[in-house]
Each structure stands twice: as structure tokens, then as C-alpha cells.
Symmetry: C2
Subunit: 724 residues, 2 copies
């Protein structure tokens, strides 16, 4: 078993490739460890030196008598295989491979990297890298700064995982400037052996870490990531991620950067949505959110109060609340009375409360002690501008006391100052009161925090498992495989859907008039009649379709007209027969349900309303199979089309429950048969509430034989409930 304890909690570290030459990587790493007050022993390894920075040096790791937990390797890439073999011999179980020049430079590097992976795996070595900055552990008992670019950050409870070294530098730079405390830092580079999910697994049990931030260009193992994210949720450790490669160009850049294989960004969105990971777009947001989550109190709801000494700030905050879906609470009458008594007559006692410009720390306290008693208050945001009356240090101290005395009431601050590094910032930080530049940031961050805890509290449901006819599906698929096809015909697709308990439009195929009439009577009038010919692409254009045929005589007339019209217009077309379908007159609305196998993720399921909803507004939602009922419902609710489905402006509602049912059946189908690469039900007609849904058209495409294995990996919940 590889263990990251050897990486983050070593008692002894060897720096292989340590150097005495200033401005070399080997020098930077060794001196960083020495200066970081590391609580274990560090051994420089380099045959060229007797000692480095007055520390006795060794020609190789095996010359060191003591046991070594961690080797930080920064020798040239061509020497790395030899060095890592030596580490394995020495019994070293942790390696940080700083050196670049592997997979990211092409085939030659890939071969080298594969050799290293083999050695690490054979010897249970937890190997970080190659192509990394290094790692940091700020915990007092360890105090290790093993990287070549960064100073030791202030200790705190935010962990940083960065796929890119550059972003790692930027991240710690930002953390430093904004005084954000760090627990662990790790740059994971090419992720040859240890990837982000492994790091997550370690951090979930790391008491020093409360919040996990991550820069990712891809996720190596979505299924493991999903599992770890859920474990992090169980411990209420939020994961905030910036995943790049969203744009096409971005994806190319990712590729050329660390050779990561870019996966569909939509699958990532679905993955994150299904395991409560907070995805942000910008680095600034990443750290704002991390700072916000340092607030140790969880909001009970989304009703906020803003207390300010500058009315304009209240106005800005109110607009921001509206934008972010938070509610400016309405005070109880008793609160208003008390505020009126406590505050000067020109103050605004309604939310946002304006204690006006001449307010001192005491007046703020008076207001807060009244507001905290109001039952309609879930969170307080305090926005204070510097005036001649404001002693910010006193205000900050008061806020800390207030927070301590009210452990169930979250408080976010927005204390401003003209000083470049005001002393109150650290005071607030210690009391876990997030403080931002502007009230709008407080509110944006608060909205994300509330959303996260709502996710945590969501009902825990298991995957519904329907009784289905898997055998029938297998039979169909076997036939296709025998034919060496991947495209299913409409009727084959229908058979599969019916085997999974779904209803398709009633249809029949006939070769001549007599059988057409028999089929129509079996389906029941009215019917639609269509010509079937591989040579006719647009049936309507050649008079090949007649709708709403009400009886035998209308059907006969239509059969004759279609036959004549097609013969006249397409004399050479091969006619395979006639398709007879029920003519659908019930009130309904069209939806689209699809599924798409994404390498490494399993099946991505799509839902949306048809027509312009999907085509113009791209009003669709995605989730990864297997879906829970909760997932399916969230998909529907996420679309604007939901407003129509649930009954828009007094219109009757459509059968949403049946849509959920079909989404779950599709989810079960593609989970049972990962060889289904693409599935498109377009349209499905949804009837009014309680009346069900009917599939009107289906396309199924199988994966090529050799790609099936990569689709079998599924993220998602493993517990299942059998239902009828």
C-alpha cells in the first residue's frame, strides 16, 4: 500500500541532486528545507560534494545509514531511473520527483515515465510528479518546505493541490498577499503514480485541513474522485476546484501543457454537480471561496442582514443579495422598535441597517445585540468604512467577542481601511470571521457557502433498480455484434427500450395494402402512413407521408396516393414497405433524453425540452449514470423548461414523474450495457400529469469492440434499491 504519510509527514528527507550552486533547483530545495525549520533530518545527496550548506553530503541514498522516509529528486531526467531504483533498494516509500522532461515532451519522455511508474508500483512507492514544484506541510510537528520556488506560507487550514507548478506559485502568492493560512501544498504535475484523488484521500483524514482547493486540467480517475469527494462531504470539507480546458482552445493548451488527455468538460460539470464539488471560473474566486469557508459557523438559511455605517454600502449589498439569490430579511416589529430606540434618528433601522457615519464600535455592538435576537436572521454581514469615529481594531475585537458569544450565528465582515496591511485582518482571521474588500464579495461567497451546506443536507437516496428484461437486450445486442454493425435500426432500438419498461409509439411495418389495413386496425385509428425506402431521405417532399387517417377507406386512399406519388417522383427508389404508426392527438410536449459514453466517466445522460429550448437556448442538463431520483429531478429542475413542465402561467402540468422514471430506466440501461455508446430519444412526447410519456424516435449506437472497456468505469453511487 502506497502511503502519502511518507510524502507529507516524513521524519527524514533525502534531497537527491542537492546543490551548493546558487540559483539551481537542487540548491533552492535543499535550502528551503533547511530554512523551513523541518522537525526531522535532511540529507543532501550529490557525489560532487562533501557537504552542502555545512551539512554532510552523500554520494547516493544507499550511503546514508539512517532510514529515509522521503526522497526529493531533482537530478537530470536521464538519471532519474537509476536514482529511483536506488531509492527502491533503500526501501524509501515516498518520492517527490521534481525533474521535468517526461510525458510532457513526447514519446521519449513517456517511455522514461513508464519505467518510473513500474518501479514505483512494484515497490509501493508513493511518487509525486514528475514535473513538479514540490510539497509543503506547515504543521508545526513537521514544518517541511520541500520545493524550489516558494517560501513557507503561514499555517492555516486550506490545502492547495495544483496540477500546474505555475498556478501553484500564483496560488501561494495570492494566499500570502491575502493572509490566507495554508495546511498542505502539493504540485502534482504529470501524476504518473499519485493523482489528485489520492491526495484527496489523504487530506480527508488530515485534521489540519478543513478546506481543499484544487487547480486541475483533468481528473485522472473520475470514479475515485467521486468516491473521495463524497467522503470529503461526509466530513464537511468543501472542495473548491478550478478546472480549466473549458474552451476548445483551452483544451488544446491543456494538451500541449502537461500532456493531459482532455475529457469532455460537460462530464466534469456533471461529475462536480453530483458530488457537491464547488467549481469556480477564476483564481480570485477560488481563494475568495476558500476564505469564506474558514467561517466556522454554518448558515441556517439564506436570510441576511447587512449592518453598515455607509448607506451606499447597504444599497450595493442589497443589489448583490438579489443577484445571488439571498434574501434581505424583514425584521420582527420588536427588532425595529429596539433599533429605533438604540440608534440616532437619522439611522435607517430597516435592513440594510445604516448606523450612519458617526457610529463608533459601541453603536455597532448595540445594533448587533438587538439584531441577533431576531428570529428571521440567518447571517449578519458587517460593512464598516473608515471614518474619524471608527476604531477598526476595536470593531474587529468586538466582532470576535460577538462571534464567540453567538456560536450559531454566522458573521461575515467587510471592514475597510486605508492601511496596506491593517492589523485587524489577522484578528478577524483568527476568529474565523471572513473579511472581504467589498460587501458584494461577502454576499457572493456567502451564497456559495449556503449552497454547499444545502447540498450536504440533501436527502440521501439510493439508485432505483427496476425489474427489466436484460436477456432481451442482450439478444438484440448479440445480433448486432454478429452483423458487425454498431448502428441499431429503429425497431431494434425500440425492442431494447421496451425491455427496460419504456413505452414507444405503436407502429407496424407492412409490405402490401392488406397487411397495412390489418396493422392499422391492430394499432387503432387514427394512424400515420409512411413509405419506407433507403432511397428517399425526405419522405414528405415526395408525398410519402399521410397523417390522421381515420378509417380503412381513408387508409386505402392514402396507400394509393403515396404509391402513385412516389412512383411518379422517384421511379427508381427501392420500396421496402410501409410504416404504420398511431396518430398522436393528445396534448403533449416534446423532450429529448440522451446518453453518451465518455471515456473514464461512464455514461453522461442529457435531458432537455425539444425545439428552440435545446437548439437555441441550449437549455439542457447533464448528469453521469447511475442517476438517483434526486439527480434526475435536479436535472429537470435545472432547465428553464421545468417552468413549462410544471404548468406555466396557469396551464396544466406535464407528467414530470414519468420523465424521472424514464431518466432512471435509461440510466440503468446504459449502466447495465456500457457498450451503448450513444443513445438519443428525440422526441419523447410527455403527456399531462399522470398520463405518462411515449418515445417517438430512438437512435442507439454501440461502441466499437475495443472501446468498451474504457466505458465500463462508472462514477456514482453504488447502493441500489430494487423496485417493481
Amino acid at each position: 500500500m502506497k502511503s502519502l504519510k511518507y510524502i507529507f509527514e516524513p521524519k527524514s528527507v533525502a534531497v537527491i541532486g542537492a546543490s551548493a550552486t546558487i540559483d539551481t533547483v537542487g540548491n533552492a530545495i535543499f535550502s528551503n528545507i533547511l530554512q523551513s525549520n523541518f522537525q526531522g533530518s535532511v540529507y543532501p545527496v550529490n557525489p560532487k560534494y562533501n557537504n552542502i550548506m555545512s551539512v554532510r553530503a552523500y554520494k547516493d541514498v544507499n550511503s546514508i545509514i539512517d532510514a529515509i522516509d522521503l526522497a526529493v529528486v531533482c537530478v537530470p531526467s536521464k538519471e532519474t531511473v537509476k536514482v529511483i531504483k536506488q531509492c527502491a533498494e533503500k526501501g524509501i516509500k515516498g518520492i517527490v520527483l521534481i525533474t521535468a522532461g517526461f510525458k510532457e515532451i513526447g514519446d521519449e519522455g513517456k517511455i522514461l515515465e513508464d519505467e518510473i511508474i513500474a518501479i514505483a508500483n512494484k515497490n509501493d512507492i508513493a511518487l509525486i510528479g514528475p514535473n513538479v514544484l514540490g510539497i509543503i506541510n506547515t504543521q508545526k510537528e513537521i514544518s517541511l518546505n520541500a520545493n524550489f520556488a516558494l517560501k513557507m506560507p503561514r499555517a492555516g487550514n486550506v490545502a492547495i493541490i495544483s496540477q500546474s507548478g505555475a498556478i501553484g506559485v500564483a496560488a501561494l502568492d495570492y494566499a500570502h498577499q491575502h493572509d490566507l493560512g495554508i495546511s498542505k501544498f502539493v504540485s502534482i504535475g504529470n501524476k504518473a503514480v499519485i493523482d489528485e484523488s489520492d491526495i484527496l484521500e489523504y487530506l480527508i483524514d488530515d485534521d489540519a485541513t478543513k478546506i481543499i482547493t484544487m487547480y486541475a486540467e483533468d481528473i485522472g480517475h473520475p470514479a475515485k474522485f467521486f468516491e473521495m469527494a463524497n467522503k470529503a462531504n461526509a466530513k464537511q470539507k468543501p472542495i473548491i476546484i478550478i478546472k480549466t480546458g473549458r474552451s476548445v482552445r483551452g483544451a488544446i493548451a491543456t494538451h500541449s501543457h502537461t500532456g493531459a488527455l482532455s475529457s469532455s468538460d460537460t462530464a466534469y460539470d456533471a461529475l462536480f454537480a453530483q458530488c457537491g464539488v464547488i467549481r469556480v471560473e477564476t483564481l480570485a474566486q477560488l481563494f475568495e471561496y476558500a476564505t469564506g469557508f474558514t467561517c466556522s459557523v454554518k448558515p441556517k438559511g439564506n436570510r441576511i442582514v447587512v449592518v453598515t455605517n455607509g448607506g451606499g454600502m447597504g444599497v450595493i449589498a442589497t443589489d448583490a443579495a438579489e443577484r445571488n439569490g439571498l434574501q434581505m430579511t424583514t425584521f420582527e416589529p420588536a427588532t425595529l422598535q429596539a433599533l429605533k430606540k438604540a440608534l440616532p434618528p437619522t439611522a435607517n433601522i430597516h435592513n440594510p441597517v445604516d448606523i450612519i457615519g458617526d457610529a463608533d464600535a459601541q453603536r455597532l455592538n448595540d445594533a448587533l445585540s438587538i439584531i441577533k435576537k431576531d428570529k428571521n436572521v440567518d447571517t449578519i454581514i458587517v460593512s464598516i468604512l473608515p471614518t474619524s469615529e471608527t476604531n477598526m481594531d476595536a470593531i474587529a475585537a468586538n466582532l470576535c467577542d460577538f462571534a464567540k458569544a453567538n456560536p450559531d450565528l454566522p458573521i461575515l465582515a467587510n471592514l475597510m481601511s486605508l492601511e496596506p496591511e491593517p492589523s485587524f485582518e489577522q484578528v478577524l482571521e483568527k476568529a474565523n470571521i471572513p473579511n472581504f474588500d467589498f460587501p458584494e464579495t461577502d454576499i457572493r461567497v456567502l451564497a456559495a457557502i449556503i449552497k454547499y451546506y444545502e447540498w450536504i443536507k440533501r436527502p440521501q437516496v439510493e439508485v432505483t433498480k427496476f425489474k427489466v428484461n436484460k436477456h432481451q437486450v442482450q439478444e438484440v445486442l448479440d445480433t448486432i455484434r454478429k452483423d458487425k454493425r454498431v448502428h441499431l435500426s429503429e425497431t431494434e432500438s425500440y425492442k431494447i427500450l421496451e425491455a427496460y419498461g419504456m413505452k414507444v409509439i405503436k407502429y407496424s411495418i407492412a409490405k402490401d395494402l392488406d397487411n397495412t389495413i390489418i396493422a392499422a386496425n391492430k394499432i387503432g385509428y387514427p394512424v400515420v402512413l409512411k413509405i419506407i425506402s433507403p432511397d428517399i431521405l425526405h419522405k414528405i417532399d415526395v408525398g410519402g407521408v399521410k397523417i390522421n387517417l381515420k378509417d380503412d377507406s381513408e387508409l386505402k386512399k392514402a396507400f394509393k396516393e403515396i404509391s402513385e406519388s412516389v412512383k411518379a417522383q422517384k421511379p427508381n427508389a427501392e420500396i421496402q414497405g410501409f410504416l404504420i404508426e398511431e396518430f398522436f392527438t393528445e396534448k403533449s410536449i416534446e423532450i429529448i433524453v440522451g446518453a453518451n459514453g465518455i471515456k473514464g466517466f461512464g455514461s453522461l445522460i442529457m435531458f432537455g425540452l425539444g425545439g428552440t429550448f435545446v437548439e437555441l437556448f441550449k437549455d439542457v442538463a447533464f448528469r453521469l449514470a447511475p442517476l438517483t431520483k434526486h439527480d434526475a429531478m435536479n436535472m429537470i429542475k435545472e432547465t428553464k423548461g421545468y417552468q413549462i413542465l410544471k404548468g406555466f402561467r396557469g396551464q396544466s402540468a406535464y407528467d414530470i414523474e414519468s420523465i424521472v422514471d424514464y431518466l432512471l430506466r435509461i440510466s440503468q440501461l446504459v449502466t447495465d450495457f456500457p457498450e451503448i455508446k450513444e443513445l438519443d430519444l428525440n422526441p419523447i412526447k410527455v403527456l399531462e400529469d399522470g398520463k405518462g410519456v411515449v418515445i417517438f424516435d430512438a437512435k442507439i449506437i454501440l461502441a466499437e469492440e475495443e472501446n468498451i472497456a474504457s466505458l465500463k468505469q462508472k462514477t456514482g453511487i453504488k447502493k441500489e434499491t430494487i423496485t417493481a
Copy 2:
């Protein structure tokens, strides 16, 4: 004529209410002026003192022998009228009235404020306030810091206008921390005499100001603001505004804050869109954009290059470019060849260019000097992380030289540093190279800059003036007024629309079968027949509507069926007659066009596609009348529905030119007749390209007599072109 020269460029200032007592407003203002190195003379006025801070004090302004340009007044509100009268006697033409307690506290304060307005207007006094922080002019020849809360900021070219004192403090705080240079600052408070448009008028001609930022809770005179914004455009001085009160709650808070009357936020959006004002949502954006515009070079287009020493930054930048509609340029082959030669083999020579972590200032220079020659490059963004090789001061100096040598190529920087106040920031600022925390910010800001200069370059068109029958409209309106009505009947509305050259659906009203047949033949078959009864709300439910009647016999049958059905189901309904309309079979799409009179703004015109587009997606656009062709086209293009109108996915296009024509005619109608308070054309059916549009339903409501005056004020272009 009031002149703001007395406010911003006084040679002598009297501080009326100056005080020697620390922590009073009168003390803060006087000492701020003394300390600000003011180039004129300052006179403390207070009968209680012989001198203040060693400066000889006066009992009132009239005791001062010298002429006074500006009086800064901070006496209690009840003394202000007397003091301002004294200022008028002394011939003072500029007053900054700091004191609060006027309109914002209710009726009593309003009376006081009205008295002051009367004195100021009678004596041509430019009066700022009441209820303000004060003003600042950083120009060396003036150097005046006449406010009670703020230190003198660094001189620069950004002006700040703030309606709220609190936001003014926050703004200067932010400017200070981000080292943004300020030209003028003014807090305008209650805007009793001088408002934001007056300040704009002054700043447009102020050479020290290149960029104007503004915090506004309302705009006092939209028409003047529009005129001034256009003048600012002509001088290419961008106006960046944060206008609060967007949310309903926000609007309430605005009201209670400075008693500003909240106008429809939509009208503000339209106003800003029509005069190129950049509206932002957050204070952070306000200053980011201001910093961005300090870049003295204008981008020629939206093709950018990102040069970085950290691949991850390139990925982040590429995603940000996609998000903000900028294009990551593709290099010419020659550029790629040269970069390949100049950069190490592991560098990425494609955009985003990664000069990799060990790059020094020289390598960056080499890359830039190659890239600048590429014809596909409009702007370069340089994103450099601190490494052991990066000397940021050297890099900044090089960038300045590069910018100087390439005066047509805009450059934005993202140089990072672990220092709290790195020295290179001021170097870049002096060379007008904006520098931001993250590349994503560079790109967001650049997108705003490009949009602004595109606006500046837009074709200058005049308002089209159609030949119309105003007389016919006046006749209809006279009738309504005579009847003391405000709601027009459908036929009255149709008459007005027809008088302005618009086509409404063919219709007729008949009382009996014979006349119904005559009417139908006049309109032309097929027709629709509808019952008219004030007692029947849902005509279809009682069988009161028959469509697609093709000849006399079908019409007769329908007439009989409707009569019988209605008699059977609603025996007591009063039947006023039958409505005969043409039955519309041509391919068409429904749109909505509306107009709404907004106090102070004139008419706000709305456009959108019908159905779910408007109801669910709120896919509508607004502009203020009078519209230019350019405005009308922009409205249409702003909606998603435009994709449908211009021919979605191979479908034929609809008649967009006719929509533009109708928008302009409606604009002319509501401009000619401001008493039209509300107008709703819903639906208008738009035929295929070249076939025109037809109005199917119209509602017009007039303003109450007493409100007409307030609707006559129109913003917008005054030049008009007569067309047929």
C-alpha cells in the same frame, strides 16, 4: 451661468464652520486643506475663534477683505440658509455644502433645501451637496483636498463622482491600495443644484481627466446625461458607472438613503447602452475597468496573444478569452518559425506562448519582438510568475521600453510578486501598462475596452423621420380626451397605427348575417368569425369562434353554429355583433413591440419574440425613444430570438428590415405624442424576408393629463432625416 471652476479651481477658499476642536468635521476639512499644499489661500470662518491652526479666523465671510471663490460650508443645518445668503452677498460663486439634514430626513429638510436651491439659482452659485464628503483636485497648480474623511490621493487621470459619501470613502480607499491615480473627486450627495451631468460637463473639458468613474443611485436629468455622455464619447473619455437600485429591495434602500426617486432600472440600462456608458455591477469591476482604460493604446481588434512563463496561466487565459469573446490569435507561419528558433525546445510556440519557468527578461523580450511583427496580433497580454530567473523590475522596465517602441500595440500585464507593494507596479503605471492580479482579469478588462472602442467607431446615423398623418392621430386622441378616457379601443389603436404607416390585420364588424357576408367578401376568404360580447370572456369555450372559413356557405354555416351554441350556453349574454378577420395562413413568427413612458426618460421601447421567448426567457431588449436605425437593429440583435429571425439552422429568414421599420415608426409615434403612456403590439406577425409584418392586436393607454409634462422630456439624438 454657474461654473464649476469655482469648485475645482478656486484661488481662495473659505471654510465656514472651521473648528479647532479635533475630531470635528470643521476641523478635519480645514486641516485637510492646509495639509494638501493648496496653491491658493484658505480662510477659516467661525465667530468663536481668533485663529485656527495659527491661521487668522473671521466671524463671517463678509469680514474677509479678499475675494472668495469657494466656500466650504459645514455649519449646522439650521444655520445654512443664513450662511449661504452671506456667501451670495459676498459674491461667492462656488459652495460645497457639507452639512447633512436636508431632503434625506423628510419634509422639514426638504423645505430648507428648497430655500438653498432658490438662493443658489438666483445668484448663479454652483453649489455641491448638501450632505457630502467634499471635493478633491490633485492637479499640482491647485492641489486642493477639501473634504472631511480622505487623505490626498496620488495624482492621476481617473475622476470619481460619487452620490454616496460612504462609497466615496471606499472608492478612494481602493484607489489608494491599488495605486490608481486620481484627477478629481467629488461627492454630490443630495444634488440640490449641481448633479452628475453638470460634473460630467466640466470633466469633459478637464485635461487632467481621461477616465470618469461614477457611483450613482439615480441620474437626475437623463436627457442632459445623454448629451454629456455623447460629448465624452467624442473626446474618447470612457464613463464607467455603477448604478445601484437594480433590485426591488435595492430601490427601497436607495429611497431611504438619499431620498432619490428610483426610476425603472431598465430605462437606465437602455440609456447607458444608447450613449456608450459602461455599466458595471461591482466596485471591484469599476476600478479594474478604470485601470484598464489607463492603457493609452487602443486595440485594433479582438485577437490576443498571451505570453507566459507558466503553462497553467496560459490555460486559464485561454478559458477566460473564450468566456469574454476574445480570440486567441493563430500565428503566421513565419512567427512560429522564429519563435521555434528563439525559444528552448520545451517551450510552447503556439498561442498561448509558454516561454517556460526558467525564462529571464531577455527571453521574454525575444519572444515579444517576434510576436509584434505578426499581422494577426491586436493585443499582447504578458503573464509572468516569480521564479528564480525572473527579475520583475527588469521585466517591467523592458515592457515599458517595448510599449514605447510599439505605440500601436496595446500591452496588458500580469506580473506577479510575493512582495506586498512591489516596486514594478509604479513603473508599469507610469508607462500606462495596466497590471492585474490574474490573467483572467486582464482579459475581462480588455474585452470591455475593445467593446468601448467598437462603440466609439459605430456608424453615426440620424433618426429616420417618416411622413405620417399626425392629424389623424390627433383627432383620435382628441376624441378620447373628450370622453375623459385613457384606454383606446382596438379600432382606435388601429387608426393611430395606420396613420403612422403600419399595417394591421384586415377586420370588420357586422351585426347580422348579410353584413357579415359582405364584410367577409371585402376582406377576402378564408376568414375567422368571432362573437363579440362583453359577457363572454372565453369565446372558444362557448363555441364562439370558427376559423378558416373558405366561402359564403362555410361562413353561413359558422354564423348559424356560433349563434346557436352561444344562445344555448350563454342565453343571457349581450351580443354586440360579429368580428370578421382575415384568416392568416402565411408562414410567420410572432413578435412583441411595446412602449412605456418613464418619468424623466421619455418612452422606453421594447422588442422581443413572442411565446416562451418573452414569457419564460425574458428574451427582450429595451431602448429609449427616439431610436436610430442602429438602435433598432441592436435591439433585435441583442435577443436570442434574432437567431430565429435571421434563419435558424437552414430555415428561411424573416423580414427583419420590416421589424426595424416598425420599431422606428413606433419610436416616432411615441416621440410625437408623449401622452401615449403605454403601447403594446402583441402579437405582430412577421412574414418571411421581404414580405412585411402585420399587427394582430394593439393596446394603447394614454397618460393622465397631469403626468404628460413629465413624459415630454426625451433623451436621444436630435438630428432627424426625413424619409418617405
